[in-house]
């Protein structure tokens, strides 16, 4: 006698359908993200030139990286130098811009749009545009400096000015952070300012005692995103320096950012194993920095909810 099958409960059926619907993402995530990550971790311990199977498994890539590769330290130094200047600069500019655009000024929507639009445009097109702006003879930047009697440098062709030029260029996308700051500023209850005014607080006191503390979670978020983004810096350098004497990372290795060096190892030198080791070291560095910032957040990030729960 055939045993009757027990009907599936509604919950189980819904779960099954749920898994089915999210399966494209899960399959994609496993095959295209987790899979390659695990593969790159394995490759990082081997000599792997893409064409032949990986060989010589061991720690040699990591040992060489830390003990016998000046370009690793050089590229890390350039990236760190860029990050140390560009991240705070972007945080301050983004915040200042948002603060200004949170005031009651005529044409507010227009100005917000104007400052936000550049952050929507990114990548190759923007790099080419900035290549023109930086042109020492015909570029608008040196023309502007010339109005004040300043002879602008050869921004991208000079080893001394290439990184400062890229830092300047990073301000182009400050509108992305600005929009997040703006939403944060608008969520600060006006009652706090009114109360402060009644207590006799001046504008600076209101700014540093109310605005900044209440905006600290947004600053914290933008800082984390900024650190991650800065250590992934690649496209702009690649586009702007690939046509220069000395090639990508030039002139004179002055723009050999970490990811540019990683890319060269992977796709120019065919050292995919070594490039994988570089990628994992980068991952660890970014992870440590992020954890450090998270750990420090207890001392400077103010969460209203946290206070209420105490």
């Amino acid at each position: 006698m055939k045993k009757a099958t027990k009907p599936m409960s509604l919950r189980r059926r819904e779960s099954l359908w749920g898994y089915l619907f999210i399966s494209p993402w899960i399959i994609g995530f496993v095959l295209l993200t987790i899979g390659p990550m695990i593969a790159s971790l394995v490759f990082s311990f081997a000599d792997y030139n893409i064409v032949s199977p990986p060989t010589n498994f061991g720690l040699s890539n990591y040992i060489k990286l830390f003990t016998n590769d000046p370009d690793f330290w050089h590229s890390l130094g350039i990236t760190a130098r860029y990050a140390i200047i560009a991240i705070p600069l972007n945080l301050v500019f983004g915040f200042a811009l948002a603060f200004l655009l949170n005031q009651k000024v005529p044409g507010l929507a227009f100005w917000r749009t104007v400052f936000y639009i550049p952050s929507v445009l990114a990548g190759v097109a923007v790099a080419i545009l900035w290549g023109l702006i930086f042109n020492p003879k015909f570029g608008i930047l040196n023309w502007f400096l010339g109005l004040f009697g300043i002879g602008g440098p050869g921004w991208l062709s000079s080893p001394d000015w290439a990184v400062p030029a890229l830092i300047l260029m990073s301000l182009w996308s400050v509108g992305g952070g600005m929009i997040i700051y703006l939403s944060g500023l608008q969520s600060i209850p006006t009652t706090l300012y009114e109360a402060a005014q009644l207590d006799g607080a001046n504008s600076w006191q209101q700014f540093f005692r109310i605005t900044v503390p209440l905006m600290s979670p947004v600053i914290f978020y933008n800082l984390i995103v900024g650190i991650i983004g800065t250590f992934q810096y690649f496209t702009e350098v690649y586009v702007l320096t690939s046509g220069l004497t000395g090639g990508v990372g030039g002139p004179a290795k002055s723009t050999l950012f970490y990811n540019v060096y990683l890319y060269s190892n992977a796709f120019r030198y065919m050292n995919m194993g070594y490039a994988s080791a570089l990628a994992w070291v980068l991952f660890i560095i970014v992870l440590l920095l992020t954890l450090l910032v998270f750990r420090s957040s207890a001392t400077w990030v103010y969460y209203e909810g946290e206070l209420h729960n105490k």
Partner: protein, 458 residues
């Protein structure tokens, strides 16, 4: 209820079946062999060339039933990653074409030796320039047959020479007076500041140069030392000891430095990045009197013409009497991973036939490697540029740096390439004024790459 439960399973099965059928290779009884030709190692991937090559493929396919060809295009920037990915995915193309010495060196172990085919078919190579054949021999392995060569010549802006009332450099090789030293002398006469003073004048202002006498050599670092008696390899014959901080290397780079900062005849790379923006060659500006470049600069000839009346002259002799015309070359190469090397060879032979070679060189801008095609090439070029003496290009072939070539294989090829180019950029940009120190740094870096290579290839 059962039907409802079966739907997801049925859907998954369908997806699986579709994926499986899409990934299963098609087989056929007497289907023609498809030869995939990878284009991206050099010329050929601009829209006009792609169209012309696809037309050639169409002609081949219309006249052959056993083999069909298909071009696969890649940009220069992506060629390394795309080609290596194809190899890794067991999807190796059957031919790389056109490919230069650099492309061959980048994938040095990947090409088969075609000498067995040459011998088997008793292929007649007598029509090729001898040096162009030598270019394709690598440690007794023959990679391909020469399609075309790109020798270097000195381009001159005759209008600027006429304005300065200075005699043109000689077109004929063998003129003992045509040396780099003489070129500097002429270059200084042709270099003018904004007030019209030339570089020999005491009133000359090197901070306000309006016209340069010389635009430099357009080739990479390793084209330089040969002119100063150095070996383009930059290392010992066994590739174990770097030799880049002595002799022709230091002398050549010092010449380059002096040409910018002492005689002022050449723009620095900072000047190049400003005054000459948007141009592939400074010569296109009409503000440069002479420069030396490969014949592949032919794609910019229309711009040269816009800049003024131009012509070509012989390459000057170096300080030790060496007359070296750096050369690039195009050939084909058959990947070792090709599944159809025999058919690839047949296609390659067809591409190397005189008529096709003529046509392909017309597309890529090379000078056909067959001696018999030289006069035809000159006539074709002269029809377009009647003022230019194209015989000089042909004469330059006799002075090319074939063995070793400036692009010849060295261990850790791309790393050495980047290191040498970076060193040259330090000098061209003014990042360092101590040439010996720059070359010492390069020596140490390249030696490190050689040791790294030999440690991995004992």
């Amino acid at each position: 209820m059962l039907r409802k439960r079966l739907y997801p399973i049925f859907a998954l099965l369908m997806v699986g079946v579709l994926l499986f059928s899409a990934c299963t290779p098609k087989t056929g009884g007497n289907a023609p062999v498809k030869i995939t030709i990878f284009v991206g190692f050099g010329a050929g991937s601009d829209p006009d060339s792609m169209e012309a090559l696809n037309a050639i493929a169409g002609e081949y396919n219309a006249s052959h039933t056993d083999i069909q060809v298909e071009f696969m295009f890649s940009t220069w920037e992506e060629h390394t990653s795309k080609f290596s990915t194809l190899l890794a995915g067991d999807l190796a193309p059957d031919l790389a074409f056109p490919i230069g010495i650099q492309g061959i060196a980048e994938f040095y172990d990947e090409w088969i030796d075609v000498s067995t085919y040459v011998k088997r078919d008793n292929y007649d190579t007598s029509d090729f320039y001898g040096a162009s054949l030598k270019l394709l021999n690598f440690n007794e392995k023959t990679i391909g047959l020469p399609l075309g060569v790109y020798p270097s010549v000195t381009f001159i802006n005759e209008d600027l020479f006429d304005d300065a009332n200075v005699a043109y450099p000689p077109k004929q090789y063998g003129d003992a007076n045509w040396t780099l030293q003489k070129m500097v002398e002429i270059g200084q006469q042709m270099t003018l500041d904004e007030n019209g003073n030339n570089a020999t004048s005491t009133n000359f202002d090197p901070t306000k140069i309006a016209q340069w006498g010389w635009g430099g050599w357009c080739g990479p670092f390793r084209t330089v030392p040969g002119k100063f008696g150095g070996n383009p390899l930059g290392m010992s014959a066994d590739f174990k000891q770097a030799e880049m901080n002595t002799g022709g290397y230091v002398e050549g780079m010092q010449f380059l430095y002096d040409s910018i900062y002492t005689s002022h005849i050449r723009p620095s790379s900072v000047d190049e990045g400003s005054t000459f923006t948007g141009m592939d060659f400074t010569f296109e500006s009409g503000k440069v009197a002479m420069f030396e470049c490969f014949s592949w600069a032919s794609y910019a000839f229309p711009n040269f013409t816009t800049a003024g009346n131009w012509n070509v002259a012989a390459v000057p002799a170096g300080p030790h009497g060496d007359v070296v015309s750096p050369v690039n070359a195009d050939t084909f190469a058959i990947p070792a991973h090709s599944k159809n090397p025999d058919q690839a060879w047949e296609v390659a032979k067809w591409l190397m036939e005189p008529e096709m070679q003529n046509r392909l060189c017309g597309i890529f801008g090379c000078i056909p490697s067959r001696k018999s095609l030289a006069s035809g090439w000159i006539s074709n070029m002269a029809a377009e540029y009647p003022n230019v003496d194209f015989q000089v290009f042909i004469d330059s072939i006799n002075y090319m740096d074939a063995t070793p070539n400036n692009e010849s294989w060295v261990p850790n090829y791309s790393k050495v390439w980047d290191a040498t180019e970076n060193s040259m950029s330090r000098i061209l940009s003014g990042d360092s004024n101590d040439v010996q120190q720059v070359m010492n740094d390069l020596q140490a870096e390249v030696q490190g790459y050689l040791e790294e290579y030999w440690a991995a290839h004992p």
